[in-house]
């Protein structure tokens, strides 16, 4: 079942002089098995929005529905445990939340907490360490001996252990080097394609949006400013600029070429191969050398 938001408002510290309305009139549907990218300027409400999806925050007004469970302002916290099991949340820098003596104990922590037996949780830990692309031999190591990228994958394994069908990731590649970033995104793509998880990715990496997402939600000033496919969103260059959002490298470069006479009748391309193909139809194969 999908996630829906209906007229959701959210304020931090309501009824105090510090009241700050972080979400205003949010209406959204996120389909099962979709891959949604959530983009927007720092402070636009992205983090507040995802915390509504597993009820870490409850709406000030309106209703959020996740897998047919309702989250309303007055929903009792006790009723939310099953929901939190279905919606896995990978926070920014999740490696900061590792704390056990061994990798195995860290991965087992969640499932034990959700009521799995010791033996089952251990079996899960062994399955998950390979699922996230790490060697089983790391299970007995201290998580703090691992590299940044490895620690992050252990943290993701811990979230996967409760078998969520929805996975929310808040800038999962931040601070990693190119290879580490690629490994994390390969893992996310694998979980989407092979494990059929619904993915919600908060990111500033527009290239990842074009490469992986089928739908984009743009947040601005606590509101949903726009939704659409990556192609729809990134072809409105002026609109993105006024909202202080970056274009993917390719789209930006294509816009530069368009201003100098290149034509992209099917819209600005999103990745370098698509751009190269559009270019190849408009220049001679030997480039400038042919006609001096």
């Amino acid at each position: 079942m999908p996630i829906t938001f209906e007229k959701v408002d959210y304020s931090y510290q309501p009824n105090t002089p510090f009241e700050h309305q972080a979400l205003q009139d949010i209406n959204l549907t996120i389909a099962d098995n979709s891959f949604t990218a959530l983009i927007g300027h720092t402070g636009s409400g992205k983090s507040t929005l995802i915390q509504q999806m597993n009820a870490l925050l409850k709406p000030s007004s309106g209703v959020v529905r996740v897998n047919n469970r309702e989250i309303r302002p007055d929903t009792n916290n006790k009723d939310l445990k099953p929901l939190r099991k279905q919606v896995g949340m990978v926070f920014q820098f999740p490696e900061n939340q590792l704390f056990e003596e061994t990798v195995k104990k860290d991965i087992m922590f969640g499932p034990l907490n959700f009521g799995m037996s010791e033996a089952e949780a251990e079996e899960e830990a062994i399955r998950l360490i390979t699922e996230v692309g790490l060697d089983e031999s790391l299970l007995e190591r201290s998580p703090f001996e691992l590299s940044g990228g490895q620690m992050r994958r252990v943290a993701i394994a811990g979230v996967l252990a409760s078998k969520p069908d929805i996975l929310i990731l808040d800038e999962p590649t931040s601070g990693l080097d190119p290879k580490g970033r690629q490994q994390i995104m390969d893992l996310v793509a694998h979980l989407h394609e092979n494990e059929h998880k619904t993915i919600i990715l908060v990111t500033h990496q527009m290239e990842d949006v074009t490469k992986y997402a089928d739908r984009v939600i743009v947040m601005d000033g606590g509101r949903v400013a726009k939704t659409g496919t990556p192609k729809e969103i990134f072809n409105d260059v002026d609109w993105l600029k006024t909202h202080h959002l970056d274009l993917p490298k390719t789209t930006q470069f294509a816009a530069t070429l368009q201003a100098q006479g290149f034509q992209f009748p099917e819209g600005l391309p999103l990745d370098e191969m698509a751009l190269a193909q559009a270019i190849s139809q408009q220049i001679s194969p030997k480039g400038a050398s042919d006609h001096g």
């Binding site: 300027h41 720092t42 402070g43 590299s147 940044g148 990228g149 931040s174 601070g175 990693l176 080097d177 190119p178 290879k179 580490g180 500033h204 202080h244 970056d246 490298k249 390719t250 470069f253 530069t256 070429l257 100098q260 006479g261 290149f262 370098e272 191969m273 751009l275 190269a276 193909q277 270019i279 190849s280 408009q282 220049i283 001679s284 194969p285 030997k286 480039g287 400038a288 050398s289 042919d290």
Partner: protein
């Protein structure tokens, strides 16, 4: 003139573990912007900590301003080297932005009026004046890193080391901090050492060192380094956008000049090749 010389430096975290730095030698020229590029775990951050005296080398020598770095002159030499770390949240000590910038000056016993003046100046220089009384936690990542940089330049160092200082920032925060560093470098003739895995950041440098498995494997101007596409990819690094596009064009049988073109040069070359309608 070399402001820092590193000679056959070695380091390992313990006897059982492999060398993190394995005989590294290079000079840093006064006034240059040197980028030290490598993937996570290549040894590049260890190198920064050794130069700042936060770690002690297992072997080899570091010379700073013609003085051999020793435990005795460490504190004196450290005044000339400012370090900005990766995580903006891990480097705040003050309750307000102004207190935080003042921290290093207080430690050095700078007189109160002089201290106030330098804090105010440093905040202007990083474009954070007006934020004096704000709590550091209420700032964005890019603003936090600019405050950290203000704390560093208030000490008036001759060398600023950026240890992955932009890698946790959003694209706007990253551009902001790099712009400020370029301005400061020009204004104070600073020497900048940026330790990074970001190829766009390395493009700001006058010279690039590539480090892998604790050894320097390449050294040259950014343009020369960026031509070594296959090697960069092999080392787990990115290549600049224009080079990625060039590889795609090559795959389609289009002959693009072999030398490194930046984005502007690539756009110009393509426009010259555009078939006339």
């Amino acid at each position: 003139m070399a402001i820092i010389s590193v000679d056959h430096l070695t380091y390992r975290y313990s006897e059982e573990l492999p060398m993190v730095l394995d005989g590294v030698s290079f000079d840093v020229q006064e006034g240059e912007w040197l980028a030290i590029v490598g993937h996570n775990g290549s040894g590049k951050s260890t190198l920064a900590k050794l130069i700042d005296g936060l770690l002690e080398a297992a072997g080899g020598e570091i010379t700073i301003e013609d003085q051999l770095l020793t435990p005795d002159n460490l504190w004196e030499l450290r005044d000339d080297i400012g370090l900005v770390f990766q995580n903006p949240d891990n480097q705040f000590v003050g309750a307000t932005v102004a207190d935080d910038v003042a921290f290093g000056l207080e430690n050095r016993g700078v007189e109160r009026n002089e201290m106030k003046r330098r804090v105010a100046e440093a905040l202007v220089q990083v474009g954070m004046d007006g934020f004096e009384e704000r709590e550091p936690t209420s700032l964005s990542g890019g603003q936090k890193q600019r405050v950290a940089l203000a704390g560093v330049i208030a000490i008036r160092p001759r060398v600023v080391i950026l240890d992955e200082a932009t890698s946790m920032l959003d694209p706007e925060g990253r551009r902001e901090i790099l712009r400020v560093i370029r301005e400061l470098k020009d204004r104070f003739q600073l020497t900048v050492i940026s330790i990074t895995h970001d190829i766009e950041e390395a493009a700001h440098a006058s010279r690039v060192l590539i480090i892998n498995d604790g050894r320097i494997v390449e050294e040259g101007q950014p343009e020369a380094i960026f031509e070594k596409e296959a090697e960069l990819l092999e080392l787990g690094l990115d290549i600049p956008y224009a080079s990625r596009l060039k590889r795609s064009l090559n795959q389609l049988g289009i002959q693009v000049p072999e030398q490194y073109l930046n984005e502007e040069e690539m756009a110009n070359w393509l426009c010259q090749s555009l078939l006339k309608k």
